[in-house]
């Protein structure tokens, strides 16, 4: 029915695609546990991400050995505690044991972060963050955003942003200011 050559081509195609299929789980595992390139949408991390609001940024997401590497001012992607199908990009503003000065929608003035929880905030003040839903568990963190990959004009490590809200640091800051005045 088919010529010799067609059969050969067909067999080759089939074999190559099968071999490729066997590598799909490897790619999946790598993306799930080592690193991944992720698209960031929305304006909650303005001006760090999506300053133009027409295009979305792509970031390099590091996932390997995450737990000991979560520090203050790191940008992380986390599964939303309000809707588990959504993923938020936020900046860590408090670790376990920190006392946090909260912002408007939060019902209390200050809050102590429980064990293995984080306080996360968006760089933009109009953001749904820990001030709405409280401290989030470490287990919801998907990865740490390390570099902006695209657009190339802003390629490089992620700049700092947001406010300082740890009470211990705020007190130091106030004392420094007082001593300067005196």
């Amino acid at each position: 029915m088919f010529s010799e050559k067609t059969v050969q081509t067909l067999r080759f195609t089939l074999k190559t695609s099968l071999i490729f299929l066997t590598w799909v789980p490897v790619i999946y595992t790598f993306n799930e546990h080592v690193c991944y390139i992720s698209k960031v949408e929305g304006s909650s991390m303005k001006p760090t991400f999506n300053p133009s609001s027409t295009k979305s940024d792509f970031v390099l997401l590091w996932k390997w050995n995450l737990k000991p590497n979560l520090n203050i001012n790191d940008v992380i992607l986390l599964r939303s505690p309000i809707n588990p199908e959504k993923i938020y990009a936020k900046r860590i503003k408090g670790l376990q044991g920190d006392k946090i000065q909260t912002r408007y929608p939060y019902p209390k003035q200050s809050v102590l972060i429980p064990r293995n929880h984080l306080w996360v905030e968006g760089d933009n003040i109009h953001s749904i963050d820990s001030n709405n839903f409280g401290p989030v568990s470490n287990g919801l963190v998907i990865g740490k955003a390390c570099y902006i990959i695209f657009p190339f004009s802003r390629f490089g490590p992620i700049p700092d942003g947001g406010r300082e809200c740890r009470e211990s640091k705020l007190r130091n800051f106030n004392q420094d200011k007082e001593s300067q005045v005196v």
Partner: protein, 202 residues
Amino acid sequence: MAIAENIIFLKSTLSWTLRAGCFIHFFHSNIYEFKETRGESMLPTLNFKNDYVHCLKSYKYGRGCEIGDMVVALKPTDPDQRVCKRITGMAGDVVLIDPSSGSLDKYKHHDNRNNAAATAQSAATAAAETVKDAFNRYIVVPEGHVWVTGDNLSHSLDSRTYSVMPMGLIKGKIIAANDLNEDYRTWWGFRWMENTFVKETK
């Protein structure tokens, strides 16, 4: 030549091991897992050791989970640990937190103090004390969260301690279990895990 062949053989073995391992990992995290559970928190539904559960991962992130389902989830206060609990409250439900958290003695003591110093204490303080009472502490489960408890309430660390659990931590739903303490005559103690939630009827 022999060395070259050995190297090729080694490479191919390693590569297939990697691919097979990653496939198993993919299968375990997205489709189905058969795993041992430990701990007393689910007695008498699950034995404290050597009990293996069949876990469907299509229910992860709480997709399609209902009240009364048994789920495997990451512990909010220690995500390295996985816990197996039953959902006893969905988003929007009003849950009595823990009637056993305050002992009866404490209840009495509060009452006495209130009576003795009723004149001195303002009504606001008395009201605050009442609210604190274990029998009167309720929580509305927020959106995207569930309330989970173990079946063995007296020996379980659950929502009564760490409060509501975000659905994002749910890894799967338990549909059946095998107690390997039993032998082959009972299919190694196979039984389906049923939803134990009973609707109130009037």
